[in-house]
C-alpha cells in the first residue's frame, strides 16, 4: 500500500468504517450514566459536517438474561437498565405484565406509582439541568441544583427504601404504603422544589453564561423531528405536542392529567424551559395525587405464572417514551422482552442537531438530549481540511467549549 493510499484510507475511515449495516446495532441498555458511547464527528474547520454515533459498547445482554429469570426476579433486573429512570423501567414492565392478566390493581397503588414516577422525573430533570450547568462552565449552578435534588432523593429513600433502585413497583401493586409523616414531608418538599424551580427559571434565561451557550444552539425544526421521531422533551421542544401520559394514560394518569408544554424554538434553551416547566408540573401532580389519594390496599396477591399472550406497553420516562414488548408463553418465565429506551430514539436527532454547529457545542447539544451521558467519553475528530484525526476526551472537550466561548468566538 502506497503512502498516499494509506493517508487517504485514514482520512476516509470516518465515513467508510460505518456502513449502514452496522450503524445501529441492537442495544437496549446502552444509554446509562458514564457509559461508553462513540461519536465520530467530521469537521470542516470548526464546523461539524457529519456525525456518526456508534452504540452498543455496554450491551449487557439483559433481554436474554430476562428469559432465564422468573417474572418477579425480572423486576429487579430491568430496574438495573438505568440508574436514573429505574422506576420507569420497573413501571413499564410491571404494568405491561399486569395487562396480560385479568387482575385488578388497587387504585391506591396506581396513585402511588404516579407519585414515585413524578418524583423520579423531578430528580432526573434537575440532574440534567445541573449537568448543563457543568458542561457550559457554570459550575455554581451545577452545585446549587444538585443540592436541591438531594431533597428529592431523600424523599425517595424515605418512601421506597433506596435512592436509586427503588424496587417499589411490583406485580400486583406497590411494596410500601405512605405514612402520614411521609405525606406531610412530601407536601413540604414539593413546595420547596416549586419555589426553587421558579428561581432557576428566571436564572437560566437571564444568566449570560447559560444564555450564550444555549440560545439558538442545536436548532431542531419540526421537519427534522417529524423525520427522525425523537421522543420526550426533545420532541416537545420542536413544537409537537406529544406525551404518553396524556395520549395513552397508564397507572393513575387518567385521573391526574399532565400539562404538556411545547416550544417552537427547538434549541437547548427551550429544552431548559420545557424541563423546568415539567418539574413544576410534576410538583403540582404530586400534590394533586396526595389530595385525591384513595384509601385501600396497595397490593393484591399475584400469580407466579402469567397467561400466554403478548403485551405492548409504553410509559413516559423522564427522557421520553420508553417502550416494552413482553411475550409470555404461560410459564413462570417470559419468552421474550424487548425494550426500546428513549435515548436510542433521540440519538440520531442529536446527531442532526449538531450539524453546522462549532465543535465547542458538542457537549451541550449531546447533553441536551439527556443521553444518560457516557457518550462524551471518547470522541474522534476528523478535520477534512487538515486531513488529520485526533481523539479528545469528554473533559478536554468541556474545557475547549468553555474556552471557545470565553474568547468570544461563539458570537461571530
Amino acid at each position: 500500500m502506497s503512502e498516499e493510499e494509506k493517508e487517504r484510507r485514514e482520512v476516509g475511515a470516518g465515513l467508510m468504517e460505518y456502513s449502514p449495516e452496522n450503524l445501529v446495532p441492537f442495544g437496549p441498555v446502552h444509554p446509562s450514566l458514564k457509559e461508553p458511547e462513540y461519536f465520530k464527528l467530521i469537521l470542516e474547520g470548526e464546523k461539524i459536517v457529519e456525525v456518526h454515533p456508534r452504540i452498543g459498547y455496554v450491551h449487557r445482554g439483559i433481554e436474554r438474561a430476562a428469559q432465564d429469570r422468573t417474572w418477579v426476579k425480572n423486576i429487579y433486573l430491568f430496574e438495573r437498565i438505568c440508574g436514573i429512570c429505574s422506576f420507569a423501567h420497573s413501571l413499564a414492565y410491571t404494568e405491561g405484565t399486569e395487562s396480560l392478566t385479568e387482575f385488578q390493581i388497587p387504585v391506591r397503588a396506581k396513585y402511588l406509582r404516579v407519585l414515585i414516577a413524578e418524583l423520579e422525573r423531578i430528580h432526573s430533570h434537575l440532574l440534567w439541568l445541573g449537568l448543563v450547568g457543568y458542561w457550559t462552565g457554570f459550575d455554581t449552578l451545577f452545585m446549587w441544583i444538585w443540592k436541591d435534588r438531594e431533597h428529592v432523593l431523600d424523599l425517595l429513600e424515605a418512601i421506597t427504601g433506596n435512592r436509586v433502585h427503588k424496587s417499589f413497583s411490583t406485580l400486583g401493586g406497590v411494596r410500601k404504603d405512605l405514612t402520614p409523616a411521609l405525606v406531610s414531608k412530601l407536601e413540604e418538599e414539593t413546595k420547596f422544589i416549586t419555589e426553587r424551580v421558579k428561581y432557576y427559571e428566571t436564572l437560566v434565561h437571564s444568566e449570560e453564561t447559560l444564555v450564550s451557550r444555549t440560545r439558538g444552539v442545536g436548532r431542531l425544526t419540526k421537519e427534522i423531528a417529524e423525520r427522525l421521531c425523537p421522543v420526550g422533551p426533545l420532541l416537545r421542544c420542536s413544537g409537537i405536542d406529544r406525551d404518553v401520559r396524556k395520549e395513552d394514560p397508564y397507572a393513575a394518569y387518567e385521573f391526574i392529567q399532565p400539562e404538556v408544554k411545547t416550544s417552537n424554538a427547538g434549541d437547548i434553551e427551550s429544552l431548559l424551559s420545557i424541563r423546568l416547566a415539567e418539574v413544576t408540573d410534576s410538583c403540582r401532580m404530586i400534590s394533586e395525587a396526595l389530595d385525591r389519594l384513595p384509601e385501600g390496599p396497595v397490593r393484591v396477591p399475584f400469580p407466579r405464572i402469567i397467561p400466554r399472550g403478548d403485551a405492548f406497553f409504553h410509559v413516559e420516562a423522564p427522557r421520553g417514551e420508553l417502550f416494552y414488548f413482553i411475550r409470555s408463553n404461560g410459564t413462570p418465565k417470559p419468552e421474550r422482552v424487548k425494550i426500546r429506551t428513549p435515548t436510542l430514539a433521540n440519538l440520531l436527532t442529536a446527531a442532526e442537531m449538531l450539524k453546522g454547529r462549532p465543535l465547542a457545542d458538542v457537549p451541550v447539544v449531546l447533553t441536551g438530549i439527556d443521553p444518560c451521558f457516557g457518550c462524551m467519553d471518547r470522541v474522534t475528530v476528523i478535520d477534512v481540511d487538515k486531513s488529520k484525526k485526533w481523539s479528545v476526551s469528554g473533559e478536554e472537550l468541556r474545557v475547549y467549549g468553555i474556552e471557545y466561548y470565553r474568547r468570544g468566538a461563539g458570537k461571530r
Binding site: T70, V72, K73, Y76, G161, N162, H165, Y199, E207
Partner: protein, 131 residues
C-alpha cells in the same frame, strides 16, 4: 439589565455562603439513613425453618441451602437444610424478606459493606441452630 442579572446570582451566593454545608463529613460524621432503608440482610437463626423459599425467589443468587443434618418424621428421614448467604452479591431488594413467612429475614440499615476479604461477607449464622 446586566446589573440585575448579576444581582440574581449574587443574592443566592450570599444565601448559600451563610448556610451550613449540606455535605456530611463522612466517614468522620455519621450518615443518617431513612427508616425504610434497605441495607445489609440479616437472618434470625431461631425463626428460620430452612424451607428454602428465599433461595427460590432471590434474584441475585445470594442464598444457597446447605444440608446440616437429618431429621426423622415418623418413619421417614428427611434432610434438614439451612441457608448460607453470600452477601457480596446481595442487591438488597428485599424480595426474600417479603416472601419469608416465618419473619426470619430482615434488612438492616447497615450499608458499609466494603471489605478486603470477600469471605467475610458470607453469612453462616443460620447453620448454627439445628432443630
Amino acid at each position: 439589565m446586566s446589573k440585575k442579572r448579576i444581582g440574581k446570582a449574587l443574592g443566592e451566593m450570599f444565601k448559600t455562603a451563610m448556610e451550613e454545608p449540606v455535605t456530611v463529613k463522612y466517614p468522620f460524621g455519621a450518615v443518617i439513613v431513612a427508616e425504610r432503608f434497605r441495607g445489609k440482610l440479616d437472618v434470625d437463626p431461631i425463626r428460620c425453618t430452612g424451607c428454602g423459599v428465599c433461595e427460590i425467589v432471590c434474584p441475585a443468587g445470594v442464598i444457597t441451602m446447605v444440608p446440616v443434618g437429618k431429621r426423622s418424621i415418623g418413619q421417614r428421614e428427611i434432610e434438614v437444610k439451612k441457608p448460607v448467604f453470600d452477601l457480596y452479591t446481595c442487591i438488597s431488594c428485599g424480595q426474600c424478606v417479603e416472601d419469608c413467612r416465618f419473619g426470619a429475614l430482615a434488612l438492616t440499615n447497615k450499608f458499609e459493606l466494603a471489605v478486603f476479604d470477600k469471605g467475610s461477607l458470607i453469612m453462616k449464622k443460620a447453620l448454627k441452630v439445628v432443630q
